[in-house]
């Protein structure tokens, strides 16, 4: 069952024998794999295979029925999401989260972690530091929005944008958090191909700067181009793991996932 | 009084609460706001029945110690409450373009208006239906149960109404449409559900039941312009306890709250007789579990229940 779990030298994220069931359904079934530092690891699998569930388990949103999650060598199993995030792991959501009553710009600025201005005391004790970090964050936010070609939306209410734009905001915000590991749940579903291409470059660039990615995506062109290795999940457990070419030509993967068309 | 007796009293009182809480819950889930005018809708029903009963009086024979005229008045009370609610929806709520908390505030205004109109028309003093109160049913007294035929009629009618609602929700499409609307009104329209119509039906049912609750409350106790409003907090507690937006939850919650409310003396008896060890704790408990804290006890129990069943007793409500 864990045949894909090759020993990793420097795993930034390690999932070991993770289990989670809903009612009778084992959404995650003894899943074991590791994400090596510096990689862009793809996570693919049929609809309902348990990919998003796995994200929820890793990031602390679900409490696993069994197994462990390690981030940077620390056991984070059962921690609160914010504690997991403190260890440098940030995730995005498959269905974009709408921030009612906020502009896109504000919604972006929630991203950076440990802002001095998030402490009530510091607001009054060291307003200078707050202002400074706020300026930096603001500039950074505007820069990323520009790169994502949505800077014109900055002052728009975050709920009044198109479906694809929401996905972009979600991704851009996660980047602002400057995580060590970024878990992306279908970042380009619904994103225009031309823009998706640019995002690909973005991710690659961030990766070169040291961010590790774990990426769920059904757009084969996108994953196969970007990710190496690729983990294939089926019915809650790891079906196989390998290079894009290897996975692409694996019969079981073609059967369960890719289908004849690709 | 025996436990059985307290339970019987609780049953009667719960029947009224249940009628109120179902409507509140329905409106909450379909029209998407906590209707603070719901208690006063009960009052509207009660007074409409008062007028009708005054006009027709002890028409014909009697069932369960209640003249036929009373049942006619009950029907009119239900109808008037429904009509008033539908009118309010059409005139006030529908044209509004605000979120649910805005609707909530509006409903506070509506509640004031209902109450004021009733007070202008009927004065603020209390009154009763001109029906001779009954003595307890002799056969039950030896068991410590002291209920009258009227109480039986209240419970019976409530059961009939609740059963009718159950059939309506379960065996007609309306119930499903209501749930669909509660879930996602836009998608409901996209699916072809005529949401305005469903909403009107919701008001008819919810307010109708409230009207019935009001009439029974008048029979059980008395009528005054503040009667429904005074019950509102308890009804809210029942709805929350049952799981907001769940009709069956509201039934269960109403039942439980009504029971707890009537059982306080029993609880205090239990506390008195328990050998609670640190003396001060015993004393504190004895003074706290007493009749003046009846409502507080109901709330504490409600919170305790919720800690065990976080989504209300009915499980998941429509969120």
């Amino acid at each position: 069952m864990s045949e894909g779990a090759l020993p990793k030298e420097d795993a930034v994220l390690r999932v070991d024998d993770l289990q989670k069931s809903f009612g009778g359904l084992a959404a995650t079934d003894h899943a074991t794999f590791a994400v090596e530092r510096g990689t862009i690891t793809g996570l693919i699998g049929p609809n309902g295979a348990g990919k998003s569930t796995l994200f929820n388990l890793i990031s602390g949103f679900y409490e696993p029925d069994g197994g462990t999650v390690e981030v940077n060598g620390t056991d984070v199993t059962g921690l609160e999401p914010y504690e997991v995030a403190d260890h440098g792991l940030i995730r995005t959501f498959q269905t974009p989260r709408k921030l009612e009553g906020m502009t896109v710009r504000e919604a972006m600025l929630v991203g950076p972690r440990n802002q001095p201005g998030e402490s009530f005391v510091k607001l009054f004790a060291t307003p200078g530091a707050v202002a400074e970090s706020e300026s930096t964050n603001l500039a950074e936010a505007e820069r990323i929005l520009e790169e994502f070609e949505i800077d014109h939306l900055a002052a728009q209410p975050a709920t009044d944008i198109s479906g694809g734009q929401m996905k972009l905001v979600e991704l851009a915000r996660a980047m602002l958090a400057e995580p060590e590991v970024l878990l992306l749940d279908e970042p380009v579903a619904g994103v225009n191909p031309t823009l998706a291409k640019k995002l690909k470059d973005q991710i690659r660039r961030l990766n070169e700067q040291g961010t590790t990615f774990l990426l769920i995506e059904h757009d084969m062109e996108f994953v196969m181009d970007l990710a190496d290795p690729i983990v294939v999940l089926d019915q809650g457990s790891v079906l196989t793991e390998g290079t894009p070419e290897g996975v692409r030509s694996d019969d079981r993967v073609i059967d369960a996932y890719l289908g004849g068309g690709t | 009084m025996t436990v059985l007796g307290y339970l019987a009293n609780g049953l009667v009182f719960s029947s009224i609460i249940v009628l109120g809480s179902i409507g509140l819950s329905l409106v909450y889930s379909i029209a998407d706001f906590a209707n603070f005018a719901h208690g006063d809708t009960m009052t509207v029903g009660a007074y409409a029945a008062l007028v009708t009963f005054g006009a027709v009086g002890g028409l014909g024979g009697a069932v369960l110690g209640l003249p036929y005229g009373f049942f006619l008045a009950l029907v009119v009370g239900i109808a008037v409450a429904a009509v008033v609610a539908v009118g309010t929806e059409k005139l006030v709520y529908e044209p509004l373009d605000i979120d649910s908390i805005g609707l909530l505030i509006t409903s506070i205004g509506i509640a004031f208006i209902y109450r004021a109109v009733i007070q202008i028309r009927f004065g603020s003093d209390f009154t009763r239906y001109g029906i001779q109160p009954l003595r307890p049913i002799e056969a039950l007294v030896p068991y410590g149960v002291r209920v009258t035929l009227h109480d039986v009629a209240i419970v019976g009618s409530a059961v009939v109404l609740v059963a009718g609602l159950h059939v309506l929700l379960q065996y007609t499409d309306l119930g499903r449409k209501m749930r669909a609307m509660a879930d996602n009104p836009d998608l409901a329209r996209v699916s072809g559900i005529r949401t305005k119509r469903v909403k009107l039906w919701t008001w008819v049912i919810g307010a109708g039941l409230a009207g019935a609750g009001g009439v029974f409350l008048g029979l059980f106790n008395q009528l005054s312009p503040r009667m429904g409003f005074n019950l509102l907090l308890v009804i809210f507690a029942a709805v929350i306890l049952g799981g907001i937006g769940s009709v069956y939850g509201a039934m269960a919650g109403g039942f439980l709250i009504g029971m707890i409310n009537q059982l306080t003396p029993f609880f205090s008896g239990v506390v008195d007789s328990l050998p609670i060890w640190p003396g001060w704790l015993n004393a504190a408990l004895e003074s706290l579990v007493s009749i003046e804290y009846a409502n507080a006890i109901a709330f504490v129990i409600m919170v305790a229940v919720l800690l065990v069943r976080p989504n209300g007793i009915a499980g998941e409500g429509a969120t």
Binding site: F22, I44, G45, P46, N47, G48, A49, S52, Q94, T95, P96, I150, L153, D160, I161, S162, G163, G164, Q165, L168, E186, A189, G190, V191, N192, P193, T194, L195, A196, K197, H218, D219, M220, A256, Y257, L258, G259, G260, G261, T262 | D173, R176, K177, R179, A180, A182, D183, N184, D186, L187, A188, R189, V190, S191, G192, I193, R194, T195, A318, T319
Partner: protein
């Protein structure tokens, strides 16, 4: 702006003399005071599959919402079989024979799969059970979860359910917003296959897709929308082979 291989926007020159089933003519539309569509004209002929493509925020979803009465056109007309339906309420449009699958929030989370499908058929006169059984046969992915609440479905499963829900009415025209978003490649293929099949049963389909290759692949015609205006219109081959279009919009 346009070149030889593609016809310029709005030049709907009475394609083969057939009357369109659904047409938007010179429509302006938007949300509140924000204009999104700007003089937008789109037609759907009987039996066609038409694919709308374009950047995020171009107004593709807005076209569908305007056609389906979720938004009222500010100017211009929406015609269905030659009748103006602009501004008619969605619940009535469903009864006219148009179906719609929204892009987001497209299932009733607190209802079971079965109830979701039943809700899709509230405007039907009869034969509901049969249709639903057929749909279960066609989409085993949801057949397995009939009594599960829709909110527990995975993203892809939801998409399938939403599609099936719209089919319960056996509509004449189907508007679909990004049917393949979030679907596994094989499931996406199946859905496109289904779209084809539904189309074979004489349902005209207007579809928004970001998976341009596959989307255009099954379509008869395509429109490229940008900033609320139709920039290009043509057959899939024409659009895919056009350098500019492909570069700017199709990620080629």
């Amino acid at each position: 702006m346009s070149d030889d291989t593609t016809r310029p926007a709005g030049a709907a020159d009475g394609t083969d003399g057939v009357d369109p089933v659904l047409s938007l003519s010179n429509v302006d539309s938007g949300y509140g005071e924000v204009q999104v569509l700007d003089d937008c004209s789109i037609r759907l002929d009987p039996g066609e599959i038409v694919c709308l493509v374009g950047p995020n925020g171009a107004g593709k979803s807005t076209v569908l919402k305007t056609a389906f009465g979720m938004l009222t056109p500010w100017t211009g007309t929406v015609e269905y079989h030659g009748r103006d339906i602009g501004g008619m309420a969605p619940e009535e449009i469903v009864r006219e024979g148009i179906g719609y699958v929204p892009q987001t929030d497209n299932v009733f989370g607190s209802l079971t799969i079965d109830e979701n499908l039943r809700m899709g058929g509230v405007a039907r006169d009869g034969g509901l059970d049969e249709v639903i059984e057929t749909l279960y046969d066609r989409f085993p992915i949801i057949d397995r979860k009939r009594t599960a609440k829709a909110r527990t479905l995975s993203g892809g499963q939801r998409q399938v359910l939403a599609f099936a829900r719209a089919l319960v009415m056996e509509p004449d025209v189907l508007l679909i917003d990004e049917p393949s978003a979030g679907l596994a490649p094989n499931t996406a293929d199946e859905v496109f296959e289904d779209v084809r099949e539904v189309n074979d049963m004489d349902t005209a389909i207007l579809m928004v897709e970001q998976n341009v290759t596959k989307g255009l692949g099954i379509s008869d015609r395509g429109y490229v929308l940008d900033q609320g205006t139709v920039r290009f219109e043509g057959t899939p081959e024409e659009l895919l082979n056009d350098e500019e279009v492909s570069q700017l919009y199709l990620g080629g």
